[in-house]
């Protein structure tokens, strides 16, 4: 079961995501990302993936959609806290390079 909790800093939304991101749950992540980026035009959206222990191609697709939306509206999508399972899958997808990934939340929200 996926849980997405939002924290609002000034001009930044941090989503603390926990659970598995798969076919059942990725639509929820996609919705949260698109709402924050396309509708609310948040200048930066940060995904805390520390408690995500599984992601599959449908999860990666949601992240790519979020990334595209952020590019369209001139916002930034930043990921941090990737554990080995998530990192492996992004590496396998050859998409690690296109995402902005930081080591810590501090870096992810830095001005």
């Amino acid at each position: 079961m996926l849980q997405i909790a939002a924290r609002h800093l000034e001009k930044i939304t941090v989503f603390d995501v926990s659970g598995d991101i798969d076919l059942a749950s990725s639509p929820e992540l996609r919705k949260a990302l698109l709402r924050e980026l396309r509708e609310l035009r948040m200048p930066r959206v940060v995904l805390n993936l520390k408690d995500v222990h599984y992601i599959d191609s449908s999860g990666v697709a949601s992240l790519v959609e979020g990334l595209k939306a952020s590019r369209d509206v001139g916002s930034r999508l930043v990921l941090f806290g990737l554990n080995s399972a998530v990192r492996e899958v992004l590496q396998l997808s050859k998409l690690v390079k296109i995402f902005e990934i930081t080591d810590s939340e501090e870096q992810a929200v830095a001005p």
């Binding site: 798969d22 191609s57 449908s58 990666v60 080995s84 997808s93 998409l95």
Partner: protein, 153 residues
């Protein structure tokens, strides 16, 4: 195809909520067989992706349709020796797979979708599709390299 010793057979429904149930069972099964952690994750990913494709493409998103997953310990000939391996067969009664589409796409093209088959092929040692008795059969094999080396030095 059904040689080797059966470890587990699951009769599932084409509901996305089923995926986490299968992942948990398979993760434990792979660990029990002696696969190292990263390979357990690879096997789980491959099966999750294959089931996702069955739900989305073969059954076009219809839920409550039957899927069968069987897991066997087999031996395969490799480098002139018989190596132990995990064989996974997934069966559905959905639409016939269009083989043209199964080749996958170039990853350079940044867009959502089209990664599943790539993940499956990267994660498993052998991947075969076939249509048989009105069913789609996907057979995947993962060699038990590490365990073999550990047990027979």
């Amino acid at each position: 195809m059904s040689q080797g010793s059966l470890l587990l057979k699951m009769e599932l429904r084409s509901n996305p909520e089923t995926l986490c149930v299968v992942r948990n069972a398979l993760g434990e099964l792979a660990q029990t067989l002696g696969f190292p952690e990263a390979e357990c994750r690879a096997v789980v990913l491959a099966v999750d992706e294959a089931l996702t494709n069955i739900i989305r493409h073969a059954y076009q998103g219809r839920t409550e349709q039957p899927i069968e997953a069987s897991f066997r310990r087999i031996r395969v000939a490799r480098d002139g020796a018989q190596k132990p391996a995990l064989e996974i067969v997934l069966e559905d009664r959905g639409a016939t797979v269009d083989r043209e589409k199964l080749c996958g796409r170039k990853l350079e093209d940044v867009r959502p979708g089209g990664l599943g088959l790539h993940f499956i092929r990267e994660s498993m040692d052998k991947v075969e599709f076939r249509r048989r008795w009105g069913r789609n059969q996907l057979r995947m094999v993962k060699l038990l390299h590490a365990a073999e080396t550990r047990k027979e030095p």
